[in-house]
């Protein structure tokens, strides 16, 4: 190390950036094709299942932002989906605004709630933070089950006494097929929003905080501001997810957002793999598509919970990076076994 010569000063990217870009472009094209073909080929049952799964993938993304970036456990994110759904429904019914605005309103409202949920995080971490956020999820559950979701009625709560009115879907996506594609686009936008954060200044500050608070302080990171920001972003994502769920079904059920679901969302994000972009997608599929698949086979969907428990044990004991990490390891092993062309196996 002591003699730095001119040769060591030249450096190159470890991976060819053009190849990487091409790989991502191919992945994106395949994904777009899959979404397009799938939405045409699927039955209504599966379409609705996948709409929910995509929305919940956004919810799981919100958990993974907090967990993977900052190492913080929030067990209130599913409750925040409910908050986002409530405000999206209320704004949509009350003001008759376009769907996009209703979703945004849901996101912003949940971000504000997320901020409140995150306040204890300024002083606590680990188990204590988990417990406090779980209690907040419980409080939100009580509010939601007491007041229910707006369904076209008058007044602040917007409860109708007669027929329940469905939430207006986006102008571009009235049918289930189109709405599925719409949700897929929003999912991609949410990933983009998170990527923008992670690659940028907030992501670096979060990484410093996750390393240790003294490290962040010594580097001049405003810990409070960046933690609050992360909780607001996570709340926003959860709120958007809740709005999308509301748009998918047309209304929301007051009993569908118990605190236990928040634990489930967190657990499955770990099982899916919080550190990888694939993790939230896998978590979304496990939350909705897996039980639906069991139902399709005429097996009780509740068995899924048992499977999830086993999956969580497995993830905690042997696969800290979740299913996504295992898939990536498997892909790496395959590539090493079958090197297609020289240099492909790294």
């Amino acid at each position: 190390m002591s003699d730095v010569t001119d040769e060591t000063l030249t450096y190159s990217l470890p991976v060819d950036s053009r190849k990487v870009r091409l790989k991502w472009l191919m992945t994106a094209l395949v994904a777009v094709g899959a979404v397009y073909v799938l939405s045409d080929a699927m039955s209504n049952y599966w379409l609705r299942t996948f709409i929910s799964a995509a929305a919940l993938a956004i919810g799981s993304l919100s958990v993974s932002v907090l967990f993977a970036q900052l190492g913080m456990v929030s067990l209130a994110q599913f409750a925040l989906l409910g908050v986002g759904g409530w405000f999206a429904l209320r704004v949509s019914h009350g003001l008759g605004v376009p769907f996009e605005l209703a979703i945004l309103a849901g996101g912003v409202a949940a971000a504000a709630f997320g901020l409140v949920v995150g306040l204890p995080a300024l002083r606590m971490r680990g188990l204590y933070l988990a417990i406090i956020t779980l209690m907040m999820a419980g409080a939100i559950q009580v509010l939601i089950s007491a007041f229910g979701f707006p369904d076209g009625g008058a007044g602040i709560l917007g409860k109708s006494t007669g027929a329940r009115v469905m939430m207006a879907r986006p102008f571009l996506a009235q049918t289930d097929e189109a709405y599925f594609r719409y949700v897929a686009v929003v999912l991609v936008l949410c990933y983009g929003l998170v990527l923008l954060h992670v690659r940028g200044r907030p992501g670096r500050a979060w990484a410093m905080i996750r390393r240790s608070e003294v490290c962040a302080l010594a580097g001049g990171v405003h810990i409070v501001a960046y933690k609050v920001w992360a909780f607001a972003l996570a709340g926003f994502l959860a709120g958007v997810a809740g709005g999308l769920l509301a748009g998918g079904v047309g209304q929301l059920d007051g009993s569908a957002f118990p605190a236990s679901q928040s634990i489930m969302l967190f657990a499955l994000t770990i099982v899916g793999g919080a550190y990888s972009w694939m993790g939230p997608l896998i978590a979304g599929l496990m939350l909705r598509a897996f039980p639906a698949l069991l139902n399709d086979f005429h097996v009780d969907g509740n068995i899924a919970t048992i499977v999830f428990g086993a999956g969580l044990l497995h993830a905690l004991m042997t696969a800290p990076k979740g299913i996504a990490g295992q898939l990536q390891d498997a892909a790496k092993a395959l590539r090493a076994k079958f090197p297609g062309k020289p240099g492909a196996a790294r």
Binding site: R211, G219, G220
Partner: protein, 239 residues
């Protein structure tokens, strides 16, 4: 220039620092003393992690008491840690960028500043290597690069020399000696390695039980019988 006046830090009933007064004007100052002497406490006071019970510290004439914790890096107070604190999920360049985000850039392109800081410690070849893949010595160098980017005034190093090979140790010495010339910052170096201290530090401050027992040119201070007594535990000959 660091001016420490009547600095006292109490941890419950224990005095971490006891009415310490010192003026440290040299570009590289050593800070030595036996375990528990208050070296790390002094560094923590300067970083702002520990609040002094009594007393003030001024850097370049500015009282540190008025500078918020998260603004000290931007003010120019930087440090490396006894247990390295390199962020493992950022690259070496990302680690430097994470600090550069919060400190003045003097309107120079960020890329230039990052490459200059890593170049200074000889880590340009590792610019894109993740923190997790760096070895112990490389991590230490990344910490120094983080501490020297963006107009620092004071760089404090807590035992940077621990566990290094001969080659690494020599490189580290040249890096430490070069910090003042490279970015104009004053260096405060805590280490038990007397060779490292005498090779790099112009002056040395010796602490014991939170108080100053000697300050002056390094060779003179290290030869001082009271310092040798505090370090080696030799009883002073009583008359």
């Amino acid at each position: 220039m660091i001016e420490i006046e009547d600095l006292t830090v109490m941890f419950g009933g224990v005095r971490g620092l006891n009415a310490l007064t010192a003026t440290l004007p040299e570009p590289v100052t050593g800070l030595v003393g036996p375990n528990g002497a208050g070296k790390t406490t002094l560094i923590n006071v300067l970083s702002g992690f520990v609040r002094p019970t009594i007393g003030t510290v001024k850097i370049d004439g500015e009282n540190l008491g008025g500078i918020a914790l998260h603004k000290r890096a931007a003010f120019g107070i930087r440090r490396t840690f006894q247990n390295e604190q390199v962020v493992e999920n950022l690259t070496a360049g990302g680690n430097v960028t994470a600090v550069l985000d919060n400190v003045p850039t003097d309107r120079r392109p960020r890329r230039d500043l990052i490459e200059a800081a890593l170049g200074f410690v000889g880590m340009i070849p590792k610019l894109h290597v993740m923190g997790a893949d760096l070895n112990a010595y490389e991590r230490r160098l990344v910490e120094i690069a983080r501490a020297t980017v963006g107009r620092p005034r004071l760089v404090m190093m807590d035992e940077p020399g621990a566990g290094l090979s001969q080659d690494e140790s020599e490189h580290l010495r040249s890096v430490i000696k070069g910090i003042h010339g490279y970015c104009g910052a004053q260096v405060l170096l805590v280490d038990h390695d007397v060779d490292l201290i005498s090779a790099t530090c112009v002056a040395t401050l010796v602490l014991d039980f939170g108080s100053r027992i000697a300050y002056g040119p390094t060779t003179a201070v290290l030869a001082d019988p009271r310092v040798r007594a505090a370090y080696l535990g030799v009883a002073e000959e009583s008359a």
